[in-house]
């Protein structure tokens, strides 16, 4: 950093005149008083800008000072976790902030040793966790990642919600040789196409194929006579992939199902009048949507007002993040998914009871699936570090690879992609608003075993669906 400043100074010197050289000298020597002669040389505006320049210089100097001060000597009983989620932008509200909240909660509880068994030991392998939060909404994601690894020398990085981020980061993580746990992004491409022989990259959440395969199974379990399907999905990677997986699964599971219409409005459109009209005129038995956040709430409110939910059975694969906020506005009978057995679909276990309570006590709302995914990723790291008995990267990777660990959403096994990709069971439910207590609940919950809705090792997701779910074990 210092050298860089010198270099910049040098460059500035060359291209400046005699006078500005003097001024630069003043700026960087941080002289606060001026001689008579210097003052005469300046007119008013220049004095003003000199003050400004001093102000800027102070900023520059303090930022340099910050560099050195943050490179404090690392305690050997400390473990640094880089945590990257959306802290600003459209995805921050529904995903990024709940995930960051969960990270804060987990880090504090782990340091205090208040997480229930089997995680009741303090710290990660005895070392206290220091989190470093970074905003995923950045144009220089890779440079930010390298900064975490090299400057902040983190021991591991947990992060990334957008599949685009994961695609860019995964190869860099392998290059930088740093343990990186992707916690939420859904695209199956990460280990199927981009990093086919992972060593440092892990993903502790199941990929998005599971969500839509399970959605198709739930639809046919509850509506065995469904004849036609329609889709309304955002016109970007997540929406396109979700619809492709869902419609392909339906075609395999029930060959006489026809697709009436595929609507792809653009993301953050907010107005779905014409798409809802198209869905209404087609009168499909099933309407599938992977909408999330504000777009989903808009769809529910606009579609609800026009009886879309009465005419067709609507499936919202990522509906769980909004049910608490929508309350009575979400029509009863809507099929809701949570990208895994999370939130109201989570199994009954001590970890989940603790997580639900600790989270809602602290933040005043129930944890949604991004919170669960984050907790799951941090617990995965904890399980591996505790098992390895150290925070040494090689040992942790060996312990995490192919492991099985408990989380608030049940047992997670790192079964795919040579032990780097998690699978877990999943569940879907039907929405019911309890008018008396004012609570949003899910009823008729059906669970699908991990091996039933995830492709076996070595098979690409879409090939697996098209092969008629070859190798699926749905006992």
């Amino acid at each position: 950093m210092f050298l860089l400043l010198v270099g910049m100074l040098f460059a500035m010197f060359i291209s400046s005149t005699e006078k500005s050289r003097k001024k630069l000298f003043i700026i960087f020597s941080m002289k606060t008083t001026y001689s008579e002669e210097e003052l005469i040389m300046q007119n008013n505006t220049q004095v003003l800008s000199k003050r400004t320049s001093i102000w800027l210089a102070i900023l520059a100097v303090s930022s340099v000072a910050a560099t050195f001060s943050t490179q404090a000597v690392a305690d050997d009983k400390e473990v640094k976790l880089g945590i990257v989620t959306f802290l600003s932008g459209g995805a921050a509200g529904p995903f990024g902030i709940p995930a960051r909240n969960a990270a804060e909660l987990m880090v504090e509880s782990i340091n205090a040793g208040t997480v229930p068994a089997p995680y009741s030991a303090k710290g990660l392998a005895g070392a206290m966790v220091t989190p470093i939060y970074v905003d995923e909404a950045s144009k220089q994601k890779v440079a930010d990642y390298k900064k975490l690894v090299q400057k902040d020398s983190v021991d591991a990085i947990v992060g990334y919600i957008s599949s685009g981020s994961c695609k860019a980061i995964a190869p860099v993580a392998e290059e930088e040789k740093k343990l990186t746990v992707l916690f939420d992004c859904g695209t199956p491409q990460i280990f199927e196409d981009i990093v086919t022989e992972p060593k440092y990259v892990f993903r502790t959440a199941a990929h998005a194929t599971m969500d839509n395969v399970a959605a198709a199974k739930y639809v046919l379990d509850t509506h065995p006579d469904a004849k036609s399907i329609a889709g309304i999905n955002q016109n970007y990677a997540w929406g396109q992939d979700s619809w492709r997986d869902f419609s392909a699964s339906m075609a395999v599971l029930k060959t006489d199902v026809t697709t009436t219409t595929e609507q792809f409005p653009k993301i953050y459109a907010g107005q779905y009048g014409s798409e809802i009209s198209a869905l209404l005129t087609k009168k499909s038995d099933i309407v599938h949507s992977s909408f999330w956040g504000g777009d989903m709430e808009a769809l529910v409110i606009q579609g609800g007002g026009r009886s879309l939910f009465k005419r067709s059975q609507v499936v919202l694969t990522a509906g769980e993040t909004a049910i608490e906020g929508l309350g009575a506005q979400m029509p009863d009978g809507t099929i809701i998914g949570a990208r895994g057995p999370n939130g109201p679909l989570a199994p009954d276990n001590a970890l989940n009871d603790w997580f639900q309570k600790a989270y809602s006590d602290r933040y005043g709302s129930s944890p949604t699936y991004p919170s669960y995914h984050m907790a799951q990723a941090i617990l995965g790291v904890k399980a591996a570090m505790d098992k390895a008995g150290s925070t040494d990267q090689e040992a942790v990777i060996a312990a995490l690879k192919g492991s099985t660990f408990e989380s608030p959403s049940g047992t997670v096994s790192m079964a795919l992609s040579d032990g780097h990709q998690a699978i877990q069971e999943t569940a879907y439910g039907t929405y019911k608003f309890d008018k008396e207590t004012g609570k949003s609940t899910l009823v008729n919950i059906k669970r699908y075993a991990a091996n039933c809705v995830n492709p076996p090792e070595g098979t690409k997701s879409i090939d697996w669906i098209k092969s008629g779910f070859k190798g699926a074990d749905c006992k």
């Binding site: 060359i14 001024k23 400057k151 860019a168 990677a237």
Partner: protein
């Protein structure tokens, strides 16, 4: 006179070996920020040379993206990974499209130019977001660069790519400086001051704008290729208006006084952002915003005026 090197050009020539040397001395994460800043800095340069003519391009991300995607698609579909070919692809693609679009844009000025350039860039954004073949909004990854058959690995690859980023950037900056000092370049300034008088002097304003637009697109395309190679990934966010807005922001922040200003400005902004995120991960935008406000209030001609204003005072009349 014009054949002589002016101060900026000397600075660029001296600066190149220093810049390359820094790549070996500094910690890698800073080098990485320098590298991406050079890529985006080139696009800011493209915005800046248009600003000299009073044209604010709010859609320069268009050519940044075209450059990146041209290189990416050459890698993905044709298997090309040679950096010289990729740069050529990016340059040809952006120049060709700019040449065509220039016939439309050269007829507009001020806010109409800004809005039309913005509209063009958002059309590409919409198109790319719909294209599943190109990974939609997730984008796709680029191959590692090779150099005339030489395919380095590990640290060598990082250094090679850094050097390969520095050289085209400095060459572009050098040529642009030449362009701005040429009669063609000065027409730009005349264009900003009085377009009618310019026409009476016997020059076509349309043609001057067209040439400027194509040149700016060419540099931005090269910037896009270099940036995409440094990141290893392209996505439609490159042509979103927020990206284009950032280039305008950089040009305003650093000032249009000198060709080096946007390159420095980009890097300074990047470093300020990094520390702002470190200082307050939840409200880092506020720090950046405050900085921009202060710059606009106290340094209306950008950071570069800290260095330049004295020169004007000395040569009373401001003639260069």
């Amino acid at each position: 006179m014009r054949s002589q090197l002016d101060r900026t050009e000397k600075l660029l020539i001296v600066g190149l070996p220093i810049l390359i040397a820094l790549g070996f001395i500094l910690p890698e994460w800073i080098v990485n920020y320098i590298q991406v800043s050079l890529g985006t800095g080139l696009v800011a340069l493209g915005v800046m040379i248009q600003m000299r003519a009073g044209l604010v391009s709010f859609g320069q991300g268009l050519y940044f993206c075209i450059g990146g995607y041209a290189a990416g698609m050459a890698g993905k579909f044709l298997g090309i990974s040679d950096i010289f070919l990729l740069l050529a692809c990016g340059l040809i693609a952006s120049v060709t499209i700019a040449f065509a679009a220039g016939f439309l844009l050269r007829r507009y000025r001020e806010i109409f130019f800004a809005m039309l350039s913005l509209a063009l860039s958002m059309i590409l954004f919409g198109l790319l977001s719909k294209l599943e073949m190109l990974g939609s909004t997730d984008g796709f990854n680029l191959p590692s660069a090779t150099y005339l058959g030489w395919a380095p690995e590990g640290d060598t690859a990082k250094h090679a790519l850094y050097v390969a980023t520095c050289i085209p950037t400095i060459i572009c900056a050098f040529l642009l400086n030449r362009y701005l000092r040429s009669p063609m370049g000065y027409i730009g300034e005349a264009l900003r001051e009085n377009e009618i008088r310019l026409e009476y002097l016997g020059t076509s304003a349309h043609r001057a704008v067209h040439i400027k637009y194509v040149i700016a697109a060419g540099v931005s395309g090269i910037g896009g290729v270099l940036w995409a190679l440094a990141l290893g990934h392209v996505d439609p966010e490159m042509t979103n208006w927020t990206t284009s807005g950032q280039f305008v922001f950089i040009s305003i922040l650093s000032g249009t006084g000198n060709i080096v200003a946007p390159l420095f400005g980009t890097f300074i902004l990047e470093i300020v952002r990094v520390y702002a995120v470190e200082l307050s991960p939840n409200t880092w935008q506020m720090i950046l915003g405050t900085l921009m406000l202060l710059t606009i209030i106290f340094l209306p001609r950008g950071l570069w005026s800290l260095i330049q204003e004295k020169k004007h005072a000395k040569k009373s009349g401001g003639e260069k």
